[in-house]
Amino acid sequence: MSTYAQKKGFGATLWDFLTTVDHKKIAILYLIAGGLFFLVGGLEAVFIRIQLAVPNNDFVSAGLFNEIITMHGTTMIFLAAMPLIFAFMNAVMPLQIGARDVAFPFVNAVSFWLFFFGGVFLNLSWFLGGAPDAGWTSYASLAIASKGHGVDFYILGLQISGFGTLMGGINFLVTIINMRAPGMTYMRMPLFTWSTFVTSALILFAFPPLTVGLVLMMFDRMFGAHFFEAAMGGNTIIWEHLFWIFGHPEVYILILPAFGIFSEIFSMFSRKRLFGYSSMVFATVLIGFLGFMVWAHHMFTTGLGPVANAIFAVATMAIGVPTGIKIFNWLFTMWGGSVKFTTPMHYAFAFIPTFVAGGVTGVMLAAAAADYQYHDTYFVVAHFHYVIVGGVVFALLAGTHLYWPKMFGTMLNETLGKITFWTFFIGFHMTFFIQHFLGLWGMPRRVFTYLPGQGFETANAVSSFGAAFMSVGVIVMLINIILTSVKNVKVGNDPWGDGRTLEWAIPSPPPFYNFKQLPLVRGLDAYWIEKMEGKKGMTPAEPLGDIHMPNSSFLPFIMSLGLFIAAFGAMYHVDKVSWALPVMILGLLITFGAMFTRSVKDDHGFHIHKEELMDDDDKGVKA
């Protein structure tokens, strides 16, 4: 046995995770944190549906309802969906390209802790005087008028976690460009890696406008600026533009990795190469590019004028084309294949009709003149839940089942997995299909209640009933996770038996250096090629040698903690409390001190020696 794989106590394990820079452990951290926030956001969703189940309900008050919807949206997008996607990117992408880690392992840890502290900060608002209540879009006039510190929590929390995301994006871009294994050309990269690449590029260009928007709002709310105050010359439309220049690419940041996960699943469980691989890559890049050209379709009713509305309407419709290409390529990947309906495949299969439904309502929404009717109604709510739940959440649930053995070395129970799928799937359609009609019948979104006599009663009751099903699905999944972890039956390299890409060529979970020797990639679906030639593993591309690894570090945690502390100072500074400014300075000093320490201290990592690797024979790529 290796000297690196010893049993550790709880304290040591905790310390290990607090200081880790290993992409696989960071992936687990993202999965846990993102999963917890997903449960919080889900609970908020349940409260929303309880409140709206009957007219004139008083389960929650009007103000509290606005806090709940704001936090539901913000949590689900920023603190659940994105981190869960980051979990899979971290867990899988480096393995798929045959790398030993990401380009900047230290920065990777910083990214996680920034996201984590940002998320915790945002959610602390519940206990410190009230959550933000201006909607997840936080439109400026309402956000500036909002009393208390709710919106301040939103501004500061998102800035902190946004920095983390931005750094993560850069990290993945560099990793994919510089650290591919020998033979892994761009056009041999698995589609999940491609979508990680395009997503990271979107993050890089989409997050700065959000940061600017948040900074402007912070200046307005906390430091006396007037960006959004009409009486002082300000203009709230600037916020709408900045928010949506970020916000539209953001939905592609979410959906492209989902497409990537589904592409892997379709190909694996059909035992077929992805149909039209190069057009899939092209479509992914095109969707990413067009994602920046369409933001104003969220603002059709803002009053930008018919010219802008017409241009953005046509540009938006254009996105339907590459998305359609993808749908048909997936269908034809299965066509002629040998399709096995595992739990991940259930989600992937159900994703197609669901996402097509969400996609076509997207095209309907793109028709600007008609959108004046749909805008800000339940029709829009239904549309984006069809794409985000039917696309992103289905992918995350599928990915959890698919990659669980790779991340934890044990398989989730398939029967329970399918029960989760069916309850969630049925509940989902029951909840959201009817909402299209609610919108068309005249029900605006973000209403804390509705009056009787407008024809909304039955549909809302059905919708709330469906939400109960979805909750049951999630609970079954939690039970599944607990049972699986308790049993902990270990599995081999390729537990699904249909693995095609490099991550399935190495043990589950992989050793911390991933590949003992970097593999030689001979084509798309590198592992599949070797399997078809009757080989058990990859051909190594290099002789066995020393491996250079980065050191663990506690600094990422401290850096992020500093900003977390500083945020409290900045926020309470408005109330003129005496301790606010010192706390803010202290926090910033902690962060900059940690950065300074990092840059001054020598940290060259360490080497795993050849001899140790040879002892470690039951791990890594077999030559």
Partner: protein, 352 residues
């Protein structure tokens, strides 16, 4: 796997049942268009739905075939296909054509609905309404007629009505679903658009359309409703004249109401006007104009219009519209005072 097919069948029937039964209420639903704007939008909806249903059918046919024909039966390895240029061209070109079919009418409609040139012409005869959105109520000024009313818009049918929209506090959106799509009410600029109210459809809807705020604006966003009385041109003109004739606040007709008027003049008139003339600038009109309160169909835009509800509202507006700006502005009134006040308000009628 039979369950899957069955479920699809059931959901299909459910959809069908919904489509047949559900066009919503005639005074509220976008699927019961009651005017040129809503018609245009409804046509676009139908066109896009039609195209999209076509796409869905194609996808579903392939989807079902895959499900039936290609399930794993044995361990044979299927042929590894790279792709097909012919197919790829087909599913690139056809969607582009379909989208063009949708794009052309979309662009045409977008320009048509944005055409407000008649209201900007000099000596224009067009009917213009200046809409000012306030936290949870709506102010309607008719600059050409020099009158103001609140929470209940009165419009003539079968002619274009032009709107200037501006907010007094935070962003709102002005929406009369059955009559046409919404437009945002911004804090920094005036947005303009037009609507047309169809006479026949207005009759079907009892001459009263529901209007809503469609942009989250605070706790009572959900309750920021208004009503639209769409009446024939003649009746509208009569209403305008009746409104213009009210130069002085209407005199109370009963003893109780006179008492109420006194209370009103002490506690309420600071914010609420009871004459319809638009002499004050819009920024000074900080509460709903009550000149024709007795003629309206809802109290505060939401409650059924009767004396009981007026009293309840005055007693504690916070219960009915959380976060409204009226709560706590008029001191404590006794039950008798509120009763008198309600009598007075219910008597404020400009027309019989």
């Amino acid at each position: 796997m039979k369950r899957l097919a069955k479920w699809r069948l059931i959901s299909l029937f459910a959809i069908l049942a919904l489509v047949l039964s559900g066009c919503g209420e005639p005074y509220l639903s976008t699927l019961n268009p009651a005017g040129e704007v809503a018609d245009t939008q409804y046509d676009l909806m139908k066109l896009s739905t039609l195209i999209m249903v076509g796409v869905i059918i194609v996808v579903m046919v392939i989807f079902v075939l895959v499900f039936i024909r290609f399930r794993r039966k044995d361990d044979t390895i299927p042929k590894q296909v790279e792709g097909s240029h012919k197919l790829e061209i087909i599913w690139t070109v056809i969607p582009i054509l379909l989208l063009l079919v949708l794009a052309v009418p979309t662009v045409a409609a977008t320009f048509k609905l944005a055409d407000v040139s008649p209201m900007d012409k000099k000596n224009s005869k067009a009917l213009v309404v200046n809409v000012r959105a306030h936290l949870y109520w709506w102010d309607f000024e008719y600059p050409g007629q020099k009158i103001v009313t609140s929470n209940e818009l009165v419009v003539p049918t079968n002619e274009k009505v032009y709107f200037n929209l501006k907010s007094a506090d935070v962003k709102h959106a002005f929406w009369i679903p059955a009559v046409g799509g919404k437009m945002d009410v911004n804090t920094e600029n005036v947005n303009k658009f037009w609507l047309e109210f169809d006479d026949k459809k207005a009759n079907d809807a009892g001459n009263l359309f529901y209007g809503k705020c469609a942009e989250l604006c605070g706790p009572s966003h959900a309750l920021m409703d208004f009503k639209v009385k769409a009446i024939s041109k003649d009746k509208f003109d009569a209403w305008v004249t009746a409104m213009q004739d009210v130069k002085e606040p209407l005199k109370a007709s009963t003893a109780a109401a006179s008492e109420g008027q006194e209370i009103f003049n002490k506690s309420c008139i600071g914010c609420h006007a009871v004459t319809p003339a638009n002499k004050m600038p819009d920024t000074a009109r900080i509460a709903p104009n009550l000149s024709n309160f007795g003629d309206r169909s809802r109290v505060a835009g939401i409650l059924e219009h009767n004396k009981e509800n007026v009293k309840k509202w005055i007693e504690n507006p916070e219960t009915y519209k959380p976060g409204n700006l009226m709560t706590g502005k008029y001191g404590n009134l006794s039950d008798d005072q509120i009763d008198a006040l309600a009598d007075y308000l219910m008597g404020l009628k400009v027309q019989e």
